[in-house]
Symmetry: none
C-alpha cells in the first residue's frame, strides 16, 4: 500500500494514498455521470469503497473534493500557441477555450462556480487552482503583445484579461446567448481593438 510521505508526522498509521486516489477517482466519475449538484459525500464513499469518516477527515465539504478532483483531471495550465503575433495567439486560444466550454467540462465549471457562491473556501480553491494560473498565463501572453508593440503599453492587464475572458464566462453561466468560438473571437477582436495604439 502506498503511503503519503509526511516527514513531520511520526506516530500512528500513515494516511493511505489508495483511499485518497479512489476518492478523487470516484468523484470524477460521479461528476461526469450525475453532475455536481447530484454529487453526495455518501455516494462518493460508496463508489470509492471508503468510509465517510475518511472523507471528512481530509475534506470539509463536497466542493473541496470536487475541485481537487477536477483540477487533478485538468491540465494545470492552458497551452497557448506560440506564433509571431501574441494577439493572434490569444485569439486562437479563446476559440479553443470556447470549444472546450461547450463540452461537459464547461458544465462542471459552472457548477463549481455555483458551489463557490455558497462556500467561500470552495471558491477560493477554484480561483487559486484554476483561474489564477490561467490568468497569469494569459497576462504573460498579453505582456508579450505589449513587448511586440501590438497593444498599448499603458493598458491595465487585469482589466484587459477580464475583458477578454469575462464575457466567455458570462455566456457560459447564463446561456442567454450562444457561447462558441466565433463569439469568443469576435469579443477578443473588439476588446483588443480598443487596446491597440
Amino acid at each position: 500500500m502506498n503511503i503519503i510521505n509526511n516527514p513531520g508526522r511520526q506516530l500512528g498509521r500513515p494516511r493511505s494514498t489508495d483511499s485518497r486516489d479512489s476518492i478523487l477517482k470516484a468523484t470524477n466519475q460521479l461528476l461526469e455521470e450525475v453532475g455536481f449538484s447530484q454529487l453526495t459525500i455518501e455516494g462518493i464513499a460508496a463508489r470509492a469503497g471508503v468510509a465517510k469518516t475518511t472523507i471528512y477527515r481530509w475534506w470539509n465539504n463536497k466542493g473541496s473534493i470536487a475541485i481537487e478532483a477536477f483540477l487533478k483531471s485538468t491540465e494545470p495550465r492552458i497551452s497557448f500557441p506560440q506564433s509571431d503575433s501574441a494577439i493572434a495567439d490569444i485569439k486562437e486560444q479563446v476559440k479553443t477555450l470556447a470549444a472546450v466550454y461547450q463540452t461537459q467540462t464547461g458544465k462542471i465549471i459552472t457548477e463549481l462556480i455555483a458551489m463557490g457562491q455558497e462556500n467561500a473556501d470552495t471558491l477560493h480553491l477554484f480561483i487559486e487552482g484554476y483561474v489564477k494560473p490561467r490568468r497569469s498565463a494569459a497576462k504573460a501572453v498579453l505582456q508579450r503583445a505589449i513587448d511586440l508593440g501590438e497593444i498599448r503599453a499603458d493598458v491595465d492587464l487585469d482589466v484587459l484579461v477580464d475583458a477578454i475572458y469575462g464575457p466567455i464566462f458570462h455566456r457560459l453561466l447564463l446561456g442567454h446567448e450562444r457561447l462558441d468560438p466565433a463569439f469568443a473571437e469576435a469579443n477578443a477582436n473588439l476588446v483588443l481593438a480598443g487596446a491597440m495604439k
Copy 2:
C-alpha cells in the same frame, strides 16, 4: 348527470392573493436574512403562515420562488441617464451598477445564478425576467450611440453588450479581483474604444 361544458368558466375556489403575497414577502425577508442557500421551502411556509402544499402547487422549486420574489422587489428596468452622449450614459450606468452589485443585491444575484446552474427553469426565469430586459435597455442606448455616430455602425450589439457587462458579472461571481465602479468604467472605456471609428 349533465354538466354544461363551459371551458371558459372558472371552477373551484380562486387562488388566494394573500397567500401568494405573503409567500413572496417571506421569501424576500429570508433572502435578506439567511441568503439563498439557507432558504428552505419549509422556512418560507412557516414565515408566510402558509401550508407547504400551497407553495408546491404554484412553484416547482425554491429557485422559482426566489426569482419571483427578487424580481418583485427590483426595478423591472435599469434607468439610464439621458445626456447628449450615449456612451457617457453607458459609462455612468455601469458605475452605478457596479456599486449596486457591491451590496447584498449582488450577493443575491450570484446565488440566483448559482441556483440556475442546477435548474434550467430557474435560470430561464432569471434570464427572461432580469437579464433580457436590461440587455434590451442597454442595446437601445448603444443603438443611440450608433445613431449619434459615437461608435461604428457595424458593431455586433450582442457582442458589445456582453463585452461591457460580462466582465462585471465575471468579477461578481468569482471575486478574483475587486468589482467596483472604477473597474466597470475602465472596462467600458477599453471596450468602447474598440467600438469607435
Copy 3:
C-alpha cells in the same frame, strides 16, 4: 336527476340521489379493489365524480361510508336452513358462514371491525346493521332448539350465541389457526354439547 323526497325541507337545491348512489357504488368498487385501509375520501370522490364536500356533508368518516356501502351490498339477514332439527340448521349455517368468511367478504369485515376500534360511530353502525340482525336470527333458531327440546331451556342465549360465533370471528381476525367449515362445525358441536340436557 333523481331527488330524495323530503317534504319537510323546502328551500334550496334538493339533495341528489345520484350522488349518493355513485358514492356508495364507488366505495364498494374500491373496497374490492384496494381494501379498506387504502380507501380514501379523495379516491371515492374522484371515482364517484363527486366533490369531497358532498361526501363530508353526509358522512363523518370513511368508516361510515364503507359500512353503508358494505351493508348495501350484503344480504340484510342470514338465511338459515329450515330442517326438522334446529341445531342441525345452526351447524349447517356456521359452515356456510365460515366458507363465506374465507373470501374477500371476510377480509372486508375484519377491516370494518378494525376501523371500528378507532371510531365508535363506525363500530356502532356495524353492530346495528350487521351483527345484531344476525344475532337475532341465530337466537331465534336457538330458541326453536329449546322449543324442540334439543337444548336446555335455562341456557343464556346471549352467551350461547357468542360461544358459537365468537370463535369464528376470533380466527377470522387473528388468523392464528385455520378458519374453515370444519372448525366452525367442531366448535358448534362442542358448544352445543354443553348446552344439551
Copy 4:
C-alpha cells in the same frame, strides 16, 4: 452509554440500547395517553428524543413498535392458579382476564389487532408474541384437565381453547354485549360442560 451485546456483529457502531429503550418507553407512554390510532412515528421520535431515521432503521411501521412496546410492558405469560382442579384454574383465569380486558390494556389490544388487519407483519408479531404463548399455557392446563380425567381425552385442544377465549375477544372487539368476569365464566362453564365426559 449502554450497548446491546451482540457478539455476532463485528462491524460498525453498535446499536444503542438507550435509543431502543427510550423509543419503547415513549411508545408505551403515548399508547396510554393518546391511544394507538393517534400514535405517530414523529410523536414517538420527539418524545424519545431520537431521530426518525433511528426508528425506521429498526421498525417497519408503528404497529411493530407498538407491539414490541406493549409486549415489553406485559407479562410474557399468563399465570394460572394451581389448584387441585385444572378446570377450576381455567375458570379462575378467564375471570381475571376479562377483568384485565376491561381496562386500558383491553383497549390497546383491540387497537393492535385492528392494526394487524392492515399489516400482516404486525399481526404476526402479535400472534407470536402475545397470543401463542398464552394459548400454549392454556393448552397445558387443559391437558392437565384431561390427565386428571376432568374432560374427555378426545377433545381437540385447539378448538377448545378458541371456544373458551374466542368469545372473550369477540366481545372485546365488538362491544355488542358486556365483557365482564361473569360472562367469561358463563362461557367457560358452557364450553367445558360440552367437553366433559
